[in-house]
Subunit: 564 residues, 2 copies
Amino acid sequence: MESLSHQDVTILLAGLGVLLAAARLLGEIARRFQLPAVFGEILAGILLGPTVLGALAPNFSNLLFPRSGTGALLLDGMVTLAIVLFLLVAGMEADISTVWRQGRAVATVGLAGIVFPFATGFAMAWYLPGLMGREPGAAPLIFALFIATALSISALPVIAKTLMDLDLYRSDLGMMIVAAAVFNDLIGWIIFAVILGMMGVTGSDAFSIGSTIILTLLFTLMMLTVARWSIHRMLPWIQAHASWPGGQLGFTLSVALLGAAFTEWIGVHAIFGSFLVGVAMGDTPHFRERIRGVIDQFVSFFFAPLFFASIGLKVNFVEHFDPLLVLVVLVVACLGKVLGCGLGGRLAGLSPRESWAIGFGMNARGAMEIILGLLALRFGLIGEPLFVALVIMAIVTSLMSGPAMQSILRLKKPRRFINFLPSRGLVRLQAHDRDAAIAELAGTLGPVEGISVETVVEAVRARERLMATGLGYGVAVPHARLAGLSEPVVVLGLSAAGIDFNAPDGKTAQFILLILTPEDDNGAQVQILADIARTFRQREFRQAALEVSGMTEFLALVKSTTDG
Amino acid sequence: MESLSHQDVTILLAGLGVLLAAARLLGEIARRFQLPAVFGEILAGILLGPTVLGALAPNFSNLLFPRSGTGALLLDGMVTLAIVLFLLVAGMEADISTVWRQGRAVATVGLAGIVFPFATGFAMAWYLPGLMGREPGAAPLIFALFIATALSISALPVIAKTLMDLDLYRSDLGMMIVAAAVFNDLIGWIIFAVILGMMGVTGSDAFSIGSTIILTLLFTLMMLTVARWSIHRMLPWIQAHASWPGGQLGFTLSVALLGAAFTEWIGVHAIFGSFLVGVAMGDTPHFRERIRGVIDQFVSFFFAPLFFASIGLKVNFVEHFDPLLVLVVLVVACLGKVLGCGLGGRLAGLSPRESWAIGFGMNARGAMEIILGLLALRFGLIGEPLFVALVIMAIVTSLMSGPAMQSILRLKKPRRFINFLPSRGLVRLQAHDRDAAIAELAGTLGPVEGISVETVVEAVRARERLMATGLGYGVAVPHARLAGLSEPVVVLGLSAAGIDFNAPDGKTAQFILLILTPEDDNGAQVQILADIARTFRQREFRQAALEVSGMTEFLALVKSTTDG
């Protein structure tokens, strides 16, 4: 049996390790800047691939991420497995009932989102072939169909990841976007199979185009009905009779792999199979949260970053860069998709704001355009500059879609108290009564934005006289609104002995949080108080919090307790 | 960038799906027969590989699990990733303090476990080369060294998995076996690097044998000191400042991949790197249980079954089968290892029973012998019959080790009450008082092993009169020992209204469990009662249990509540 050489193994493991580390690191940095993690993950690939590292240290980049031979194929295999499992998770998270409820809107958006960009792309490629970069030998009709398809297919994985990063995935809007993208992509891939047929290459070795279409529809229908029904019956049986959680995990993952293999075999892409398996599994009550969590977390933080980073590894974005071509492709792609889907959204009765959000959400392209472009390149239908333009278009639209939706929908992360704790904001109190504790906490903080410690103490004591701020269960929240403050500030004092804050349950407070908020920001105080109450209400959290050695351990504890 | 063909992707996904499904299924069946799951997983590979499926349907088997070309390399890449991540988990589970405590014993067992089989193997190959299958052109000294090494290297992954399956991994004995195996294997791989050097092929492309040895020792030392110290400081920082659990997961997995790449690069196997990274990560208190659980479960039920099943795919065990050679290799291998390690255990002051258990535990060979054999085959040092004999020896010793340790240590699974619930053993009670409830439960059960319902009712009521069996928190356990019963029987009655069983907390019982045990089996009653108390004490469990629709749902609930 043929096996990998010593060098192949070294390179595979080193490449995966570096790619994962870079993707996770830049993903975290993107989150810091309030961007979706996928932004940083794609960027990691561009930095490590031919564009940056490849230009600075070509031998090193080529060694770590080989562009041909066994190494390239191995990396491609890993990435394929990654994307298949990521789509399983996306499918499991999908809420199919929303889709049924919004059926008409989904069809309208999905259809408009393919007809518009398809028509625009076809017209441009047919009437202005030179501008769109048609190669001399390419057949005009096939070229126009290719461009039209390449501009029409949305990137389901990117869309799903962006929506998850923005916490929109399970919202009505998020589910509509995902359903429309599935609808759109299935049609797109079927058209692509037709084009391949016209070129004399079939997408599948075993099936004609007609069979591919029929089998795809049959498979989709079956997964949503018979397979779904059977899975709902099999899962409790497996849980009862097999080891736990091994039985359900093994079952889910092997069915997903087989579903993916099936759709790839019949000529549409593997990801549809695992996505539909995920949908069929997803909303059964027998599929316990823990199994879902294990698959979700391992895939989201191992496989997904690998896949998204790998996109940036594919091409050198400098060498084959044709600025005009890139601009034209990008503008045509965005106009067709954003306007088409936006119009579809309006037709379906959504608000202008939601319609634009759908337009930019569906505008994300991704791996599909790259796979499609690779095939077209291989068969001489397009040249390298157009391939680069397509990939840049795919990446730019993907990178745009998160921030664009964020700003259109005016999304803000809920404010958490830990975001306003300065690094010195944790103190073990010496004080034994309420007034001394307030003075000690304000003293720890020092003057804030020019407001003196005395002013702070006075304002907080005044508020405290109106009504005591003991919440019960050992927590007190002396607070005040201060004119001239631009941002909230929180200080946490720990008192082993406990200080009386006149709490409803009569207990003394071991956790005293001094909270200062801007005078005109109503929301801040409410959100921070609610967050503190929710966090400290957990007994295990309070016990562990009394033991922390400093701010780092305290933050770590809050994060792991509240899944934030 | 080179990428996989449509057919490669289909085959890769289908192959992985079938392999995973078969491995998990046979793993579960093995557990049913009280065997370690790894037994079933290896068997799955033998059934799907050239030996069985390959003989019955050669084209199908070759299509699904290609033996050369891209498909074979892809599968090998997946299996390599699988084994690397499995060893990370094994490392994380390892309890390093036990190893220090038992340092002398570990060294004695580890050393005896390599000197003995090495000497036996060398002597056999040197004095009886014909019997051991030396090829005509092979150099006698190199051949003898190869045989000696091949018989000396234990299979750390198989040993770790077997110990985990037997729940022995974190015991003192388990940790000693693992530590001795690590010690043994590091030496074994270094000798192997020396042999490759003598053959004019180096294990590493970049390092001499001397450098490999020095770098291996330095890396091991560094991981157990500096790296361990740094990781213990970095983990809380990551937890505090990165997303959770993504930060720690990404960090752990990428460090493991890089560690594995490093050890592969310097010329020992990749698995040592990830194992040592796991050891360095493992026992930090900052590494929360949930992260450990996510990695552990995904790896144990996805990657590990794929790896173990893949062993069986490597060769056709019928075609190149030489019964005498197989027998000789097997006997020499077992004698050397079992006696060597057993003697080592006795020298280290362990009991005879523990020494034998160590001998059979360390006797497991695995992937190492197969990788080693593949290299020797490629360089013409051995022929295919000897290769088959080595692989069979590896598999047989692996399969033996679990059952042998089980029987030597007389391990028994603790008896759970659900094992004695007949399929009709769940009933919604009509009865409103104690006597009626007992009669209704006994009636549901019917006569057992010839003992009439009346006898049962009388015995239980007699016991009940001695002392009421209400445990509190809504649970009652009327029970009796019956002469002539060979096995315990349990019936569960649910009473929505509640029946008074005179519980210490004054609550009526909603769960009434009738328990009948053999008269002479003291343990059964105690174990079953303890298990019931432990299971039903959880409030969430009781709430969910009142809602179950039938036995399957009830069993599923018990399994998922108690991690059984």
